[in-house]
Amino acid sequence: MRITRDDLISIIFLLPLYIFIIVMVFIPIVNVILGSFGISLFGEKSEFTLKGYNEFLASESPYMYSLFFTIYISLIATVISIVAGYLFAIYLTVKKPPIWSKVSTVMTIPLFTPYIVGAFMWWTLLWPRGYISLFVNGILMRLGLAHEPLPLVNDPYGIGILFGEVWIRFVIAVSIFYGPLQLINPELIDAARSLGAGTWTIIRKIFIPLTKYALIATSAIVLLATMAGVSIPLVLGGSWPQFLNVMIYLDVTTRFNYIMAYTSGVFYIIASAALGYIFFRFTTKKVILQTR
């Protein structure tokens, strides 16, 4: 194989990018993987050990619990955001509300809001003096369902995290779904109606089958983003149980338990590789949509 002048230009132009990726992404990832086995590329002590994995996988391991908590809360947040976002996007597609064009910009604001600010905003609504907290607890206590105010933030159930995550993921879901739904031939919906399908049947039998790849891919990326984001569980999460990424953060900043941070990191890499694979698999797959 001969290297042409064009190839040479490509290589020279791409070289800085590759150097950057190797130094700033590749080395850190290798570092985390080796570090989970006790091997350090830059530190002084370096010794192969399975201590990290033993501790992570041990019964009653806080890390396993934390991993399940992360997945559990992220799944709930993902399902809520995807379902709500999908239905809202369908509403916009089918009903075409005239006022939407005037207010749609508002929907882009959460996309540009720093997660830390988003998390803090929800904290002000959910802490004991926050409006939502007062409102929800007022109802619960009047109905006799609770005897003392229920903590809605920094709580052990992950309620606060759910509020914060859903706010951002819902908007992301709407903005991702909106485009593909516009590509569906509106006569298909008219045809289904004239054949006897009501609204729910149309959603079940027309919209979902036609957008299933977008649904799967979006679910994967939303789940991944929810599991990976640190700001929201850090600000809205409780003291225990915690998201695994908060555990990582605490391990390196306060507990100095590097091997456990690296081991947790490896689980994150595995999870993101799996979800990332699903995402790219289904976004590159040919989606059959009848366009006008």
Binding site: F13, L17, T105, V117, L134
Partner: protein, 269 residues
């Protein structure tokens, strides 16, 4: 479908609920930022004012946070563009196997949680003595920005018709003229959008700054986190600070919507 007027009422209800849901946290944030006196038993502040804004400016830490945040962001924008424009040119104009591979590689980085990269960088930065170094935060901020910026720049270069450059060369244009007359007019929007992505990402970046920069270098998100992270239980200064980072974000969102017709999520970890 039934009843035009009833339908419009439904629209108002559904979109109204969504709008309230999206805007409520921001309204409450503003309320906190402007609340001078707010007793625990009251639903509303009893006195409004700018106290917390001046309070924010009086503190050395927060003043420095402004300085760090708003100097880092343009630097990150420039360095990211410097890296992404040549790369985007190759990816956008030469669709070779190498280009596709590079694209996939960069997209794969996007799937990696930033915190994992952060703890991997920690020993490297420690070894090189870069912890708490202002300049060393620039490449850290670039990690998250590059995938977005590169995608935007690549898309811009894809719009350049392949034969346009050749046609210009045949007509006797020099290389510089080709860049000025062909590439810049077609690609500037995409490059600008990519630059603003990088700017916005840097402004919002949180976890890498926290791991690699703090406590020596604290940007605005770190300052906000310190107020809510349990050190104080007074959300007002954090609210005032948040306004300073939220406003530019909203301005950027509006700008994108209006002039560049692109939008993308940029939460910053």
């Amino acid at each position: 479908m039934y009843g035009e007027r009833r339908q419009r009422l439904w629209d108002l209800l559904v979109i109204g609920i969504v709008m309230v849901y999206i805007l409520l946290p921001m309204v409450v944030l503003v309320e906190y930022a402007f609340a001078e006196k707010w007793y625990a038993y009251q639903l509303y502040p009893s006195q409004w004012g700018l106290k917390w804004f001046s309070w924010v400016f009086k503190h050395h830490d927060t003043r420095m946070a402004f300085l760090y945040s708003y100097t880092l962001a343009p630097l990150v924008m420039l360095t990211t563009l410097a890296l992404c424009i040549p790369a985007g040119y190759v990816l956008g104009t030469k669709r070779t196997k190498l280009s596709i591979f590079t694209e996939n590689l960069v997209n794969m980085n996007m799937a990696l949680p930033v915190i994992v990269i952060g703890i991997g960088l920690l020993p490297l930065y420690t070894r090189l003595g870069l912890l708490g170094n202002y300049w060393a935060l620039i490449p850290a901020h670039m990690i998250g920005a590059i995938p977005y910026t590169l995608r935007s720049v690549t898309a811009a270069f894809m719009q350049v018709p392949r034969d346009l450059e050749e046609a210009a060369r045949v007509l006797g244009a020099t290389k510089l003229q080709v860049i000025r007359k062909v590439y810049i007019p077609i690609t500037w929007r995409g490059i600008l959008a990519g630059g603003i992505f990088a700017f916005s990402w840097s402004l919002n970046e949180f976890i890498l700054t926290l791991l690699l920069g703090a406590p020596a270098v604290k940007t605005l998100p770190i300052a906000i986190y310190e107020y809510v992270g349990g050190y104080y239980l007074t959300p007002q200064p954090a609210a005032a600070l948040s306004i300073f980072i939220l406003l530019p974000s909203i301005a950027i969102a509006l700008f994108f919507e209006k002039y560049l017709q692109v939008s993308l999520g940029l939460g910053g970890g």
